[in-house]
Amino acid sequence: MNIAVCVKQIPDPAVPGELDSETKTLKREGKLILDDSDAYGVEMALQLADKAGGGDVTLVSMVPNDEVSGLRTALAMGAAKAVLVSDPALAGSDSLGTAKVIAKAVERVGDIDLVLTATESTDGYTGTIPGQVAELLGWPALTFAKHVEVGDGKVSIQRQTEAGFDEVEASLPAVVSVTAGVVEPRYPSFKGIMAAKNKPVDQVKADDLGLGADQVGWTGARQQIVSVAAAPEREAGEKIEDEGDAHERIVAFLEQLKVV
């Protein structure tokens, strides 16, 4: 079974984000790392391919620059190869523009049974790309999966709902988005890290995928950021050290609020 996993290289979330003063979008110049959310999709893909008795796990990703370090992390985990759409023309792409690129990249890989994605990225978090990619490919999308099984040309998932979960099934090929924490992503081994350096990364431009400048990047996004302002600050209140009786202060506070 051949699986494509969508992965995103993002600015380190541990470092406070910054907006570009001119474009008013998130600065992405520094080092980019593999989005933690995507490690679950990669792990899930490796496990599913293993269970199915073989097949390739291919990474699909896009960046406006030539960054590959995040991809190498996922390759080191065990993915076989990657398609990286790397093009300055992609800067400023919105979620639909991104989905167009991903869908074309999946078609470029060819012979894919399953596309795995996270539910949303850590830096953009629109949460619409899995459905948009599926619609563009004409495939079903099973979203918010907390458990995934594949067999007999079908994929079945446990889909997170507000009340619990639904068991949902569709025939392949399909797109599945997985929630965080569904599997435990493996740490790349030293051997894996060394092997990743030589794994093929098919680097292409938007143009190579037949996508014009009107479909991706700023122009394709068809939206304007009109203002950026500081939100009203919330003031800190009382802070106490626990000397063994802090719970009494909490009870008093809850009483004052008439919660107890």
Partner: protein, 322 residues
């Protein structure tokens, strides 16, 4: 000046309109001249009464059967948009809302603005505000290009106020073709028993983070305290990622937004990811070992201490009060 026709993608749970549906309808009344709802539900009549109370005059309804509700809803919208040409369609940033929105966006080739906390209209310009960087910055964006404009709004962004309207007129939508996407079937629904209120509707929310030290401490510390306070239990992203609790419990940027009367953060440091989901709470209590943790910057009452010592005593004290 309002826009002409605003649609709200309405959702129901256990036969009730979700609270975010009523919030969106309230906002739609403020920014639009005509407010109508679209839903993918089995029982359209029950929902028609509820969306009518919040100002929708019509409810376009499709029955998803055993297909995915949002997928069928999105396909129905494709058909309806063509026929009725709304100016703006508002979705909840929910599971099914995003399914419907993403399908519609790709089919119509329209961009989406998501994670909205505000919607403002001036003539033909629709502006959607989004809180970023843990809620310390508000970015406002407008749509360029052809209508309809599509936006997803986070729950709890607006207060819901009934309009006093009667039931919306139900217009059944037939012949919806979701293509291969419509072949995805719901085989079985599992309802997990929930004691107490829903996370988003609770007056009190108790959330746990990495500082709990292990998955086994979530139930006796976080859930137990939530139960005593008749509240709901939540979590930071760190412990959802670690697999301690399911995604549905996550509070934050990539999870839920809550605005309870009291929010109690136990062992949560206060990453920007988390703050954006709880900063709007009326009162915040934080318990954390690290006195420098950013959570104390927003806490009305901050306790620097070991959750394993403070919380059991707090639980005992509350039990003793009865």
């Amino acid at each position: 000046m309002p826009v002409g026709k605003v649609w709200v993608y309405a959702e129901a749970e256990e036969g009730q309109a979700t609270s975010v549906t009523t919030e969106l309808l309230t906002k739609a009344r403020e920014v639009g001249e005509t407010v109508e709802a679209v839903a993918s539900v089995a029982d359209a009549d029950a929902l028609a009464t509820q969306v009518g109370e919040f100002g929708a005059t019509k409810l376009y309804a499709v029955d998803p059967g055993d297909a995915l509700s949002g997928v069928v809803g999105g396909a129905a919208l494709v058909q309806l948009v063509e026929e009725h040409q709304p100016d703006l369609v508002l979705f909840a940033q929910s599971y099914d809302g995003r399914d419907a929105l993403s399908r519609l966006s790709a089919r119509l080739d329209r961009p989406v603005l998501t994670n909205g906390n505000s919607v403002d209209v001036d003539g033909d310009t629709v502006k959607v505000g989004t809180a970023i960087f843990g809620g310390n910055t508000i970015v406002e964006a407008t749509f360029d290009g052809p209508k309809p404009y599509l936006a997803a709004i986070r729950p709890k962004s607006f207060a819901a106020e009934p309009s006093g309207g009667g039931a919306a007129e139900v217009v059944k939508v037939e012949g919806v073709d979701a293509g291969r996407a419509g072949e995805a079937k719901v085989l079985e629904r599992h309802v997990e028993e929930r004691e107490g209120p829903k996370l988003e509707d609770a007056e009190v929310v108790v959330s746990g983070g990495r500082g709990l030290g292990g998955a086994e401490h979530y139930e006796p510390l976080v859930e137990e305290l939530a139960k005593l306070l008749k509240g709901a239990s939540g979590a930071s992203r760190a412990i959802v990622d670690a697999g301690w609790v399911p995604y549905a419990k996550q509070v934050g940027q990539t999870g839920k937004t809550v605005k309870p009367k009291v929010y109690i953060a136990i062992g949560i440091s206060g990453a920007t990811q988390h703050m954006v989901g709880m900063k709007g709470s009326d009162n915040i209590i934080a318990i954390n070992k690290d006195g420098e943790a950013p959570i104390f910057g927003v806490a009305d009452l901050g306790v620097v201490g070991d959750a394993h010592k403070v919380v059991p005593k707090l639980i005992e004290a509350l039990k003793a009060k009865g």
